[in-house]
Subunit: 328 residues, 2 copies
């Protein structure tokens, strides 16, 4: 495989490039994101954190489903709306406690399929959908879901804590299958028990409580390297990653594998001494975990493979979200 | 004025009839809405309540903006997305702590106007927008916002606690103006100081902490009588209301007044002995508060005026949301 063309394909991947608008939008809210003095984490993380008065934080996240997903498979869109939100809370090390949704559709059959998918997601992940809003007269189909979680303030896993010398770990459940219509959806949950799926979420909470990580982020639409890129950008550091060390199900080629959205997948950073307990906690719940490289001070993401070396992102010139730690 | 034609106009008001789909949607989630055992309040209230372990609850609500509002005045849609969500938390007696949003638009100018409106709402209500999701490639403009609040579990103001004999109160800030493009938007906040607007929200928290109410709900798209109808439906009771007692700004005719969405407006129920302290707390923050009638066991909403008497809703045959207390 040609490393250069793989890297070019990743750099131009829509899952990454469509993140470019984020800073344009969040930039408008920079002056007010901490207006009440509770905001510990604002933009740039999988979820935001707001302090409450018992040493805990409330975590908030929201996701909209891609229109293409809604049109092709409303059930799957409903199911995934739960999955992606739960993973946003898990990535912070939090406990997801409830969700709300806004559905726009004129088609009762599509609405029923979406709700059926949501209901299956609720049962699988054990997080209730407790409210929301219906637009019965919208001229389009859309589904937006938000989630709230809770955790101890001192335990939060952020995207901004990676430091030079830390190991970079990729943790992915390798046991799954590609969705028949979406070749970048790596489904690892529909075929598994709620107990195992929920144990995967709680494993991240255990890593958080034990303070084993310096940073973490759930692998989402930008794929494994895009998600790592966002973490590096937020942390103001770089990394070097050896392609062959990234855990992969060999049924999927590298190009697709690096772009796909896994049902349970995280990029993590940690001091070398913590790698062993981290790996044990995640592998106990079927999440394969490998050290794939390390953090460097130079603000670039290098991908190496069999002696070749390519720059995936140079954060001095490229931007993914444009959000940095010193300018939240 | 002809009471019968006024009542007919209210019964057929789109702001009420479009609530009919709610039960079809929430019905699908009835089995799972309390899957984790934390859900104290699910559907049928302005916000849902999830128990956390310090005697508090986390409140969740979500609202989507009407497409018509987005097209005519994106700034106002952004501003209102904050207002309606904050009012949902206020109606429960809670403290709003943070919001997330999902914006879909291809038009950067519209997006900037929406965000500008949101930012103004954040400053006015003192509740930060801490995260969200942008669809830069959606073929439509939409804005969905969710909010999280917090309060003591024992203080929650619900929609389901109204009991026969309780007084029905309507509380509305009468000092405002009709939006130039939307004759049912009664703006009472853009021209007021953040201090007063936030004091109105905190007044509801004071009513909650003092346990002065048996039920309460913020007046939203269904208007004053539609919102009262939803409260009665959820509480499994009826009421009789004297039209002339409802606080009104006489610049607006009755038909529009009963349908409009006020910037700060609530329907409340309480034992007669609590009417005086409730009124004092609300009038201190410019919210005019009047007893307009009382709760009856018969499941109908009667509207009386100058000796005439009409049935607005008969909950044995009509339904607004279809959500009742015994079947959440």
């Amino acid at each position: 495989m040609d490393l250069k063309s793989l890297v070019n394909s990743i750099k131009n991947f829509e899952g990454i490039t469509r993140k470019n608008l984020i800073k344009d939008v969040t930039g408008l809210l920079e002056d007010t994101y901490n207006i009440a003095g509770r905001t510990i984490l604002g933009f740039g993380d999988d979820a935001s954190a707001l302090e409450i008065d018992n040493g805990q934080v409330v975590l908030l996240a929201a996701d909209g489903m891609w229109g293409k997903l809604m049109e092709a498979d409303p059930w799957w869109a409903g199911y995934c709306s739960v999955l992606v939100n739960v993973n946003d809370i898990a990535a912070m090390g939090g406990i997801p406690i409830g969700m709300t949704n806004v559905i726009s559709t004129q088609d009762k059959e599509i609405c029923a399929q979406i709700m059926d998918g949501i209901n299956e997601g609720v049962k699988k992940f054990g997080v209730p959908m407790v409210g929301g809003h219906v637009h019965p007269d919208a001229p389009y189909n859309s589904l937006d879901v938000s989630i709230t979680g809770i955790m101890n303030r001192d335990d939060i896993i952020t995207s901004c804590g990676a430091r030079p010398g830390d190991k970079v770990l990729v943790a992915i459940d390798l046991e799954g299958e590609i969705h028949p219509q979406f070749h970048l959806n790596w489904d690892t949950t529909t075929m598994k028990s709620p107990e195992l799926v929920q144990a995967q979420i709680l494993a991240m909470n255990e890593l958080a409580q034990k303070h084993l990580l310096t940073a973490g982020k759930d692998i989402s639409n930008p794929g494994t390297l895009g998600t790592l890129g966002m973490l590096l950008e937020t942390s103001n550091v770089g990394a070097t990653v050896e392609l062959g060390m990234i855990p992969r199900n060999i049924a999927v080629n590298w190009e697709d594998w690096l772009k796909l959205y896994p049902g349970s997948g995280f990029v993590l950073t940690a001091p070398e001494g913590n790698v062993s307990p981290i790996t044990q906690i995640l592998e106990k719940v079927n999440v394969t975990t490998r050290v794939v490289g390390h953090i460097i001070p130079e603000k670039k993401l290098y991908l190496t493979s069999e002696g070749d070396n390519e720059v995936v992102f140079d954060f001095c010139t490229d931007r993914i979200t444009g959000i940095h730690d010193e300018n939240p």
